[in-house]
């Protein structure tokens, strides 16, 4: 297949949120046709420049998806489906991007704090950030403070996202920040917090860098931080 056509097809399928051939898209009648996974593999096989795939097929299409969400045409499941497509494409491309010396937007460690098993919100943020080009290291839920801080140090991550759903566990976020200070890495990492009971005021109170009310705000805040 012509490289340009292939890139356009990848972009189209990202916008349709179609990960695999069996997936339905936003529009009808697409089931059974090659989707992002199959098309990216084909592009790699054909020797398409991985940077072009990222820039021409993935980044632009996610911007369009964002616009469609803003306008109300797309709802969250559509947005997530597209983000997941980009995430999987990035996984497939990452060895080739590394070889080509292309870096991600940065490592983002994400975790639900100790004592809290809720991970839906954390997972959504994870998918969205991966789709936005970050290297997401997801530690899971109910993660001990020491392990979170250890991961920040080990990966030298510039970003840490903490999540909690319970009023009883949100205070653990403060413990994590204190531990980062104790370990001398607080200045090297931006801490973003989120979760239903949290607020801007709470973020200020525990000394976090930002409060994100949802995944979209998280991506926007990260853009500002990068600048």
């Amino acid at each position: 297949m012509d490289q340009q056509i292939l890139l356009e097809k990848i972009a189209f399928n990202v916008m349709q949120g179609r990960l695999e051939a069996e997936d339905e898209g936003f529009d009808e009648g697409l089931e059974g046709k090659p989707a992002v996974t199959e098309l990216v593999k084909e592009a790699i096989r054909d020797g398409v420049d991985p940077k072009s795939i990222v820039l021409e097929a993935l980044t632009g299409s996610m911007e369009v998806v964002g616009e469609k969400f803003e306008s109300g045409e797309y709802l969250i499941p559509d947005m997530l489906a597209s983000a997941e497509c980009v995430g999987v494409a990035m996984d497939l491309l990452s060895p080739y991007l590394l070889k080509a010396g292309v870096e991600t937007k940065g490592k983002f460690i994400i975790s639900t704090v100790k004592g809290d098993l809720h991970d839906i919100g954390k997972n959504i943020v994870s998918i969205m950030l991966k789709g936005a080009g970050y290297e997401v290291i997801d530690l899971g839920a109910d993660v001990p403070t020491d392990r979170i801080v250890g991961a920040v140090k080990e990966h030298q991550a510039p970003y840490l996202g903490l999540s909690a759903l319970l009023t009883t566990t949100m205070r653990v976020m403060g413990d994590v920040i204190e531990k980062l200070k104790e370990e001398g890495v607080r200045e090297s990492v931006k801490v973003l917090i989120g979760g239903a009971p949290t607020s801007k005021e709470f973020a200020d109170q525990i000394g976090a860098d930002a409060h994100c009310k949802d995944a979209f705000e998280a991506t926007n805040i990260l853009k500002t931080m990068a600048h």
Binding site: E24, G72, L75, P77, D78, A81
Partner: protein, 529 residues
């Protein structure tokens, strides 16, 4: 999808009757068991035999007599005469069995027609009553006496006298309400130029020229029937076309409870049935004054009245399309007014739906009325309480459902918009379950896929259902902050809907109607652009 809101007025097609509105097909909730139905049926037939009915119309009395009823002339204590009719059980059973179980109520747009089938609990909702008052709402800003920076918007209400302009506006708005399936004139027209002689042609024209859904009303004057039918024939495209696609139908409250056939209304029943157009035989006794307040007594009596009315219809013309029109209400014990939105209202009405189903006649029922005089929490409670229960009952044709306030005395357009949202949610809630082996197999597949994925999140798999309109959206008029903005938001939505182009009749049709039908007010002459 409309603003994320699944629309439940998808069209569908019947091999015999053609296209019709889908409504919502429910699994009926039934209060009565088989024995209850049998006991009520026996009681109704017993009442029709003894004491029988007090018939004030000679033609009807003679017709009953000719078919085997025992009829004798009696005199009231006031001196007036009437015919006391004892209906034999066999006569009623035979006549009622001749009423069709399935027929169409037509509409200007074929896809807006309604398929009524007594054996299929497909529920449609529409307007009702003929309120004298239009409640106008506007939001006014008030400043706190403690803090001039604090301002709140509060609804202010104004009563307007119903007229043809407002009825046209109501019809035009109702055209835009996607969950409204039919239109019964909700407003009485009291223009200075409207007289009893031209009342019917004006109310039907104001409705028909602004809505493409089914239009139904009572007849003010028997003499107007000819003109009303001629108007409908012009719109439907001819005499036969109107019978195939009856864009209009009628309501006749032939019984004055308890058990009295009204002379003038009986004459209208004869004329309407002979015209071949569908008719609702409606009865509205008040439990505690014109009927027993006890469920068993109320239902036995209203059922007797409706059965006698349907018997009359079938004796006039066998096979005439007729709806079982049950509007049983309860008396307020503090002032003897009707009390809607109460448990007994639902009990009486659900029972009647079951009785209609037992006789295999489509049921005209009621919901959405209350004592609340303005939109607000009381109105929401009373309406939701009856809307939901009556939809669950599987009544085919639920009137009173949009915009009524102060019992049936006021119509408020913003309330109709709020009711539309509520009814949409109810229709969605009562949809048939989508469960079969192929669907459950799909679901197992999704569970497996998600469990194999890193985040175990089902969100992306919501898309298919979402795009198919299977997933409901949040309340359309919700507020985002610590406030209630339902009314304000509904007004904004109404203003937007009222800007949609009106669905007027075309120039030729309107010209023909104005040329051939006398008495229509010139101000109503509006044509499609």
């Amino acid at each position: 999808m409309d603003n994320g809101q699944p629309i439940n007025n998808e069209r569908t097609e019947d091999p015999v009757f053609g296209p019709y509105r889908q409504g919502v097909l429910v699994k009926p909730y039934e209060r009565l068991n088989r024995d209850h139905v049998k006991w009520l049926d026996d009681a109704s037939l017993s009442i029709l035999n003894d004491p029988g009915i007090w018939c004030y119309n000679e033609r009807a009395a003679n017709l009953f007599k000719a078919h085997g009823a025992e009829v004798r002339e009696e005199q009231e204590t006031s001196g007036s005469f009437f015919w006391r009719v004892s209906l034999p059980q066999g006569l009623v059973r035979d006549a009622v069995s001749k009423a069709p179980s399935r027929f169409i109520l037509g509409a200007r747009k074929p896809e807006n027609r309604l398929l009524l089938d007594a054996e299929v609990p497909r529920v449609y909702f529409g307007t009702g009553s003929e309120a004298n008052v239009w409640v106008d709402v506007r939001m006014e800003e008030f400043v706190s006496v403690d803090d001039s920076q604090v301002k709140v918007k509060v609804p202010r209400f104004r009563e307007l006298r119903g007229d043809t302009t407002l009825l046209s506006r109501a019809a035009r708005l109702c055209e835009q309400l996607e969950h409204l399936d039919f239109f019964i004139r909700p407003l009485n027209i009291q223009d200075p130029d409207v007289t009893p002689d031209n009342h019917d042609v004006n109310k039907f024209f104001a409705s028909l020229n602004n809505i493409t859904k089914h239009v139904q009303a009572g007849l003010t004057r028997l003499e107007s029937l000819k003109d009303v039918i001629k108007m409908a024939e012009i719109i439907a495209g001819g005499r036969e076309e109107l019978r195939k696609n009856p864009v209009i139908s009628f309501i006749a409250c032939v019984f004055k409870s308890p058990l009295q056939i009204v002379d003038e209304t009986a004459e209208k029943v004869f004329a309407i049935v002979e015209s071949g157009l569908p008719l609702v035989i409606s009865s509205s006794p008040q439990g505690g004054s014109s009927a027993p307040i006890q469920e068993a007594g109320m239902v036995a009596q209203i059922n007797a009245e409706i059965l006698a009315g349907i018997t009359l219809v079938q004796l006039i013309k066998q096979g005439a399309p007729v709806l079982y029109g049950s509007v049983p209400v309860r008396v307020r014990l503090d002032n003897l007014f009707d009390l809607y939105g109460c448990p007994e209202f639902n009990q009486y009405n659900i029972d009647c739906v079951q009785m209609a189903r037992f006789y295999k006649i489509p049921c005209y029922s009621s919901a959405g009325v209350g004592d609340a005089k303005v939109p607000g929490m009381q109105a929401v409670f009373e309406k939701l309480f009856t809307h939901l229960h009556m939809a669950m009952s599987g009544a085919q044709y639920i009137h009173y459902a949009f915009g009524l306030l102060d019992r049936t005395n006021s119509f408020c357009p913003v309330q109709a918009v709020l009711d539309n949202e509520q009814i949409g949610k109810i229709k969605h809630c009562l949809r048939e379950p989508k469960i079969d082996p192929s669907i459950t197999a799909d679901m197992i597949n999704i569970v497996k896929k998600v469990m194999a994925s890193p985040h175990r999140l089902f969100a992306r798999h919501a898309r298919k259902a979402m795009h198919a309109g299977d997933i409901s959206s949040p309340y359309r008029f919700e507020a985002k902050d610590l406030e209630d903005k339902a009314l304000e938001n509904a007004m904004g939505y109404m203003n937007q809907k009222e800007k949609e182009p009106a669905q007027h009749l075309d120039q030729t049709t309107v010209d023909r109607i104005f040329n051939e039908i006398p008495g229509i007010l010139p101000g109503l002459r509006q044509v499609a652009e």
